[in-house]
Amino acid sequence: MRGYGDVHPTVAELRVGYLPVMLPHPITGELTEAGEVLMTECEVVATYQGDDNKAAPTFTLGYGACFGHNEVKAISMAILDRALQKGMKDGPENPSEDPEFVLLHVDGIDSMGFASHYKMPHYVTFQSDMDRLRTTQQKQEANHE
């Protein structure tokens, strides 16, 4: 969207429902239904992809699934999945096609963990910043005189 990895998908499937949670039985080891969980699932079809080797063009798919009733999140995941697949195939041309960019910045724990770290004390590094700031300011002033 907006030129940073153009995918306008056609939503092929978008559904919300309960899925069984299967766990191995503690004694028999057999998969047993332990409960159910609300999920949203989405599959998108995006514009066809040609191939430099003259292979027949095809539509491409993207898939997303998340907990709870959250359609926008599932659609977004499906679009990113499609964008990342293109990036893996042809090399990323946009941030949305770069797995390193998307996976490390979209993940809740990874991204939030670092933003919350900014509330820790930083007075040593700030002192060091002040030293650089004062020195460069002094030099600029001296140059203007």
Partner: protein, 285 residues
């Protein structure tokens, strides 16, 4: 342990993996060894990389010191120390550098020289010095392998052209053993020379970025500079050209914190609280 938690929290497989990564890091000084970086019961960015190193290395006979910004009482240091004490029964903790066998630190290397029987663990937010010139880790890995640091040198050069100074204040790029350039963690430039030919093993742990690297003992560590523009540490001289002193211990040799006191006066004080206390003890006999 009676509550079902393994000694030092991590399971033995996790510790073994970290120790193997440490060995590799020591064998290839400055190389960032990837490791699995377990989830810890605290947020990424709060020292989980340093913590995992400490937990993988600590034994019941160790004496631990934990500091943040040079202080044993800083919030991050207190929390980490409490957690390690809780999960490592039998260890001792100390604030005295000389008593410690294992030191975990954020943003500082202690003022006083480390000994060969000590290990320093530094918490690392950004492990890769090349990140300021190249966002893709794939490409950075190739650059490190080829020791291609030209873009980093260009960045320093551009600084000099623009500001007549290298503007990197902390996390100063440092070449280890003549090859790999590391991000030495957010220590001030003042601490960078302590990496060079250190008596102690210095380990770096980046939990969020899942990397471990090392500056082994007696290993060359040179901050990046030019022949005609030398590397410079923070300047603590006042307007009269005198080195500022700590208002508590009077030291004119330590890295100082600057702040405004309750009277509105600008004052300076040692960042390393243990060093400052020891200097005060010396002064008072």
């Amino acid at each position: 342990m009676s509550n079902g938690i393994n000694f030092a929290f991590l399971d033995e497989y996790a510790k073994r993996e970290i120790r193997r990564s440490v060995l590799k890091a020591i064998c290839i000084p400055g190389y960032q060894v990837p490791y699995s970086s377990r989830e810890m019961p605290m947020g990424r960015g709060f020292g989980t990389g340093g913590l995992q190193l400490t937990l993988a290395l600590i034994g019941a006979n160790d004496t631990l010191k934990v500091i943040d910004q040079g202080s044993d009482d800083s919030v991050n240091a207190v929390n980490l120390r409490k957690f390690i004490e809780m999960t490592c029964p039998g260890i001792d903790t100390t604030t005295r550098l000389q008593e410690a066998t294992l030191i975990q630190s954020r943003h500082r290397i202690p003022e006083q020289a480390l000994r060969a029987d000590q290990i320093l663990v530094l918490q690392v937010p950004y492990p890769d010095a090349l990140v300021i010139v190249e966002p893709s880790e794939d490409k950075r890995k190739v650059m490190h392998g080829e020791a291609d640091y030209s873009r980093l040198l260009v960045k320093l050069y551009e600084d000099i052209v623009k500001f007549d100074e290298i503007t990197i204040s902390h996390r100063y790029p440092t070449r280890i053993n003549g090859h790999y350039i590391i991000d030495p963690s957010p220590i001030p430039r003042y601490d960078v020379p302590k990496l060079h030919n250190s008596n102690a093993l210095i380990l770096f742990g980046a939990g969020r970025e899942k990397k471990i690297y090392a500056v082994p003992p007696h290993c060359p560590a040179e901050p990046l500079a030019f022949d005609d523009v030398p590397f410079r540490i923070e300047d603590f001289t006042d307007n009269h050209g005198e080195r500022r002193a700590c208002k508590l211990c009077g030291s004119q040799e330590s890295f100082l914190d600057e702040f405004i006191d309750e009277q509105g006066e600008r004052v300076y004080q040692c960042s390393d609280s243990d060093y400052c206390e020891q200097q005060q003890e010396l002064a008072h006999g």
